[in-house]
Amino acid sequence: MAQPIPAAAPGSERTLTMARAGREAVFSEMRKNPNMFVIGEDVAKLGGVFGTTVGMAEEFGASRIIDTPISETGFIGIATGAAMAGMRPIVEIAFVDFIGVCFNQIYNFAAKTHYMSGGQFKVPLTFMIGYGGGYNDAAQHSQTLFATLGHVPGIKIVTPADAYDAKGLMASCLQDDNVTVWMVHKRLWGLGWLGFPLPKALATVPEHDYTIPFGQSRIWRDGGDVTIVGLGLTVHNALQAAEQLASEGISAEVLDLRSVVPLDREGIFKSVAKTGRLVVADEDYMSFGVTSEVLAVVAERDPTVLKAPAVRVAYPDVPVPFSRPMEDFCLPNVERIIAAVKSTMKGKK
């Protein structure tokens, strides 16, 4: 169920980027757990292509922050075996686009080993993965692929929309005894090379450790006319859309899934049952995607709660074009969300 965020102890907060907040959780868990280590390309000397591991090699040494060859199948397999033998690997795959070279090792072995072994072996392994476009990185470095990972069983997948969730969800992943995937949109992260992050992605983050339960969506904004479901960057698109819609007298509720797997089906349905209208915004491809599943949840629980057809604002089923006008046309932006909401309001008033 969707829950408000608990307030942090006064005085123990700072405003952080998602990158720093997520890193803070990794530092904290690494300090607590000597069996935890980071493995991936460019994580040691460079500190991660996205800065996820800056400062870690210095503190934890090359034995726990391991630069690898460009051999994803190999080092994911190695990380999985290490996890089966008592370690707690954190595997960085900079771009989700790359999972195609190592997908077997993820879904056929790592994700299934606990089940196939009847619980004899645990695989406490966390992936840190970046995704998303909107900065002209073209067809092989801009994908989202939530559903590609979410469709195969045995993996828990989260994606934070702000720094508070970045830290809490990272801690939840690192403390979990299963294969978990912490995915973050490159444009939210606060990378050195994508300008300033969205202001709303920054958040006041408590210094103390805390976790956020899997499968618990977050209501960023209450509303009565329509539910806009988003995750990651689309939460911020939805919030902007909601503000503009408010000025036109339309009250939109913004629900952030936070977890792709497990999915907060109750939370989605409860909100839609309340508002009677549904728009889902997602940067992943449309078909067989996150938007499909969210609509299906309503259709199989009670389609009569819908006062109007639900609308999907997803990435169309085409590769990501390089050229700016073409990519901008495909992205699930504020304008498309507003238009979608208005289409659900037709007839009303």
């Binding site: 069996n35 080092f75 397999g77 290490a82 033998a85 080993t113 009847g118 004899q120 406490p124």
Partner: protein, 316 residues
């Protein structure tokens, strides 16, 4: 070693018989008490026995889609293993795994059905021991066909780079299903590929348990003493088809006729060399046969899991 080889063989004999139950007149893999694909180890027993005899409790072993002989030589509980083949609740994984997915945490053993998929996890278990400062090495079994899969290359490069205590055993039975090694592999000896990874490579011809034992001893010694990894390529023989149901019609008759069964040959040698007497041998065989019969009975008579168990144990 003979005991492990003989145990695996008698197990495969018993499994073959049980497998055919209910699958005739029209062969249907999904019927009978032992359904599913079944890749047996007839002829490859020396590769398992000669290597695993060097291993201790702290070591780890990964096998592939043809795991029986390796599991037996590693000392996986025979009753639980057979129960798993029958899909029973008393099986290693309570019936969730099956023949290609045998896991035994007790003895750090696993197997998996995707080609070369066990290479990384095997090497990862070796890395874990290194990181934890614990003794122990890891061995991963693959076939000659698997040596052309990308995982082989990626993992062995890291084994060489990080000097992992790891042995890649290649069971060279000359075939990947129907494709002969000369039609799949650009060079004669996969052990020669070791030079691409800065690790040791050894080839043992003849499917000879004693020669395998010696070469494996050297590889294990290298791994334990921090000298790193080895590709241990073992010439062996797939006496049956790829799986039960494959007649192997693609193999030349001459080649088939020339196939030698390593077990009777080794038995004779042990007798000839007076390593053991005919009496000892027969009683050993009787004992092993008894264990296998007992395991088969256990597997057959155990209960099936509750169907709803299917939805449990997805997550720890």
């Amino acid at each position: 070693m003979y005991e492990a080889m003989y145990r695996s063989r008698r197990l495969d004999d018993a499994v073959l018989a049980a497998y055919m139950e209910g699958k005739t007149p029209v062969f249907h893999m999904g019927k009978g008490p032992l359904p599913g694909e079944m890749h047996q180890s007839f002829g490859q027993e020396p590769c398992a026995a000669g290597v695993c005899v060097h291993l201790g409790k702290e070591d780890a072993v990964g096998a592939g889609h043809r795991p029986h002989h390796v599991a037996v030589a590693r000392g996986v509980d025979l009753k639980k293993m057979v129960a798993e083949l029958f899909g029973k609740k008393t099986g290693l994984s309570g019936g969730r795994g099956g023949h290609m997915h045998l896991y035994s945490a007790e003895v750090n053993f696993f197997s998996s059905g995707i080609i070369a998929e066990g290479m990384g996890p095997g090497a990862g278990m070796a890395l874990a021991r290194k990181m934890q400062g614990k003794p122990g090495i890891a061995v991963a079994y693959i076939g000659d066909g698997a040596a052309n899969q990308g995982a082989f290359h990626e993992v062995l490069n890291m084994v060489g780079l990080w000097k992992l205590p790891f042995i890649c055993v290649i069971e060279d039975n000359k075939y990947g299903v129907s494709v002969h090694k000369k039609d799949s592999t650009a060079i004669e000896r996969n052990s020669d590929r070791a030079s691409a990874y800065g690790i040791a490579g050894e080839f043992v011809s003849g499917n000879d348990p004693d020669l395998i034992f010696e070469a494996a001893g050297r590889a294990v010694q290298r791994a334990r003493s921090g000298q790193g990894g080895t590709i241990l390529e073992l010439e062996t023989e797939r006496l049956h088809g790829h799986f039960i149901g494959d007649s192997g019609g693609y193999r030349p008759d001459a080649e088939r006729k020339a196939m030698k069964d390593p077990i009777p040959a080794y038995r004779e040698r042990l007798l000839a060399d007076k390593v053991s007497s005919a009496g000892e041998m027969t009683s050993l065989e009787a004992k092993v046969q008894g264990e296998v019969d007992e395991a088969m009975r256990f597997g057959r008579e155990s209960e099936y899991p509750d169907a709803t168990e299917a939805l449990k144990r997805l997550y720890a």
